[in-house]
Amino acid sequence: MTAWTTQELIAVSASRLLADDKVVFAGVGMPLVASVLAKRLHAPNLTIVLEGGIVGPRIRPGQLPVSTNEMRCAPDAAMLTDITDIFLLAQRGYYDYGFLGTAQVDQFGNINTSFIGHPDAPKVRLPGTGGANDIATSCNEVFIVTTHERRRFVETVDFVTSPGWLGGGDQRREAGLPLGGPSTVLTDLARFTFDPQSRRMVLTGLQPGVDVDTVQDNTGFEVICGEISELEPPKDRELSVVRAIDPDRAFTG
């Protein structure tokens, strides 16, 4: 079981970011696979929260939901409430972690899921923020998880749907966002963290077999290197659980 897909690699790496006894606001797809994986391995007491009004479910292996608002999100939940309550609990500060995917992300972790091109005459009108802007605003720590492509990692996003560190430095706090902010960007090639002063993205981890040049080739802005470690490859146990969770590879193929 030494081979893995790109998505499996991301799911396993992302799951390792989640500590036990915490609350994670998980979207469907990769974030949910990573959260379920963590809960089945090293974080059995992790509480998963889903946008559709669901707190503390035990997602059934092989029954991953397609949306955050359906019964596959709800097995054995501790609380079913409404969407508004879920987001207000976020704003109140109850959620330790949030996950974000992205169409575009810049060097300060700002995310665009709204428009490609100018918003007044967009080349592509994307489906919109959903809960991403709220997660970016209110979760105590945000992980950006995505496949690593040059068109995604851009110098400047066409539109800030979900604020990262904005222009860097203190700009996030000055904008009225005292809490949260992205801590980690995790891809199939690398892990970035953010410089505590400048809030600029810094390369601090490489996926197995990836070098810095490959990361730079797939990144639309200059890659700044911090102290870089090699990320541990997926273990057989991790992969077997991922495959149990998503046997049809709907999200990890």
Binding site: V28, E51, G52, G53, I54, R60, Q63, V66, S67, N69, E70, M71, R72, A74, P75, L80, T81, D82, I83, T84, F87, L88, A90, Q91, S114, P119, A121, P122, K123, V124, R125, L126, P127, G128, T129, G130, G131, A132, N133, D134, T137, S138, F159, V160, T161, S162, P163, L166, Q171, R172, A175, G176, L177, A250
Partner: protein, 311 residues
């Protein structure tokens, strides 16, 4: 629509009985140009019987708002019934992809997609429900969404913090599908509520379709399960499987095979595919019961069975 004849001695009622057909409710309460707030979320508890009746009656110039919009909004855009959608996200998700009709119309400038954060749309409804002209929140601060909607930055009058003021919305009509309600309009919903608690309180008129019209005595047995009080409701529409082919918590799953068929039409023919779907599945059907008859018994049974596995 009947009026209560008055209570038996000692059995005071709660007022006017509001049970009517979807046709009558939409005819009476939904005008061209109205803002319709759509209950449920994505493909869960969508008021499909009511929405299809709005299409059947060929209303135009509508605004649709919803927490997250699924293909029901796409149908309205495709046939020209609506030209504005207010939501946090519009699409389908999973293997069914994005809302290509929305993309096409928005990119061509012939429709408007007012994008709020998900809490933003929630606060719009909640402010309307609370009877205040706005509510403050932190979401959308620092983002470019602020400039493209009618929210505004404000300074907290107490602490001086920067906040977003979200303007209230009081939609003309809320369309909601629920598990049960009595003839007066006391409505109960099982499982997650999506945003229907607030939508019902915010809207100027409320039409609720219900799986079961129950006796008021059954409401009284579990009054703490009532989510919408009768005085907020204008019409109660009996509609078994009223959200089908979308899911109903605790009752039936979404019919994802039907989603595949729909998505395939869109992939193949774009907007024309959606228009053809509406012609066939909405205008081609006298009512929701006729639409339901296009599905086989075993399909529907399968959608019930999965509930036992999951809940």
């Amino acid at each position: 629509m009947t009026v209560a004849t008055g209570p038996a001695p000692g059995q005071e009622s709660l007022g006017i009985e509001k049970v009517m057909t979807a046709g009558r409710a939409i005819e009476t309460l939904v005008a061209d140009g109205a803002h319709l707030a759509v209950g449920g979320c994505l493909y869960s508890r969508t008021p499909m019987a009511l929405l299809m009746e709005v299409l059947r009656q060929r209303r135009t110039g509508l605004t649709l708002s919803r927490s997250l919009a699924c293909y029901e909004a796409e149908m309205f855009l495709a046939v020209g019934a609506a030209d504005t959608v207010e939501t946090a996200w519009m699409g389908f998700g999973g293997r069914w992809g994005m809302a290509s009709v929305m993309r096409e119309r928005v990119e061509a400038g012939t429709a408007t997609f007012n994008e709020y954060s998900h809490l933003g749309i929630a606060m719009r409804y909640r402010a309307g429900a609370m009877g205040v002209p706005f509510l403050p929140m932190r979401s959308m601060l620092g983002s470019d969404l602020v400039d493209r909607t009618d929210v505004t930055e404000m300074t907290c009058p107490i602490t001086g913090e920067r906040l977003i003021a979200v303007p209230a919305v009081q939609p003309d009509v809320a369309l909601i599908h629920a598990h049960r309600g009595d003839a007066y309009g006391n409505v109960q919903i099982d499982g997650y509520l999506h945003m229907d608690f607030d939508i019902a309180r915010a809207a100027k008129h409320v039409i609720v379709s219900v799986e079961d019209v129950i006796d008021h005595a059954e409401i009284m047995r579990h009054p703490d399960r009532t989510v919408i009080p009768h005085f907020a409701v204008d019409a109660v529409v009996p509609a078994t499987h009223g959200s089908y082919p979308h899911e109903l918590y605790g009752v039936h799953d979404a019919n994802m095979d039907h989603f595949d068929d729909y998505a395939e039409r869109v992939r193949r023919d774009g907007t024309a595919g959606v228009v053809a779907y509406v012609d066939e599945m909405v205008h081609g059907m006298a009512d929701h019961a006729a639409f339901l008859d296009t599905f086989t018994v075993s399909e529907v049974d399968r959608s019930h069975d999965i509930v036992k596995d999951l809940l």
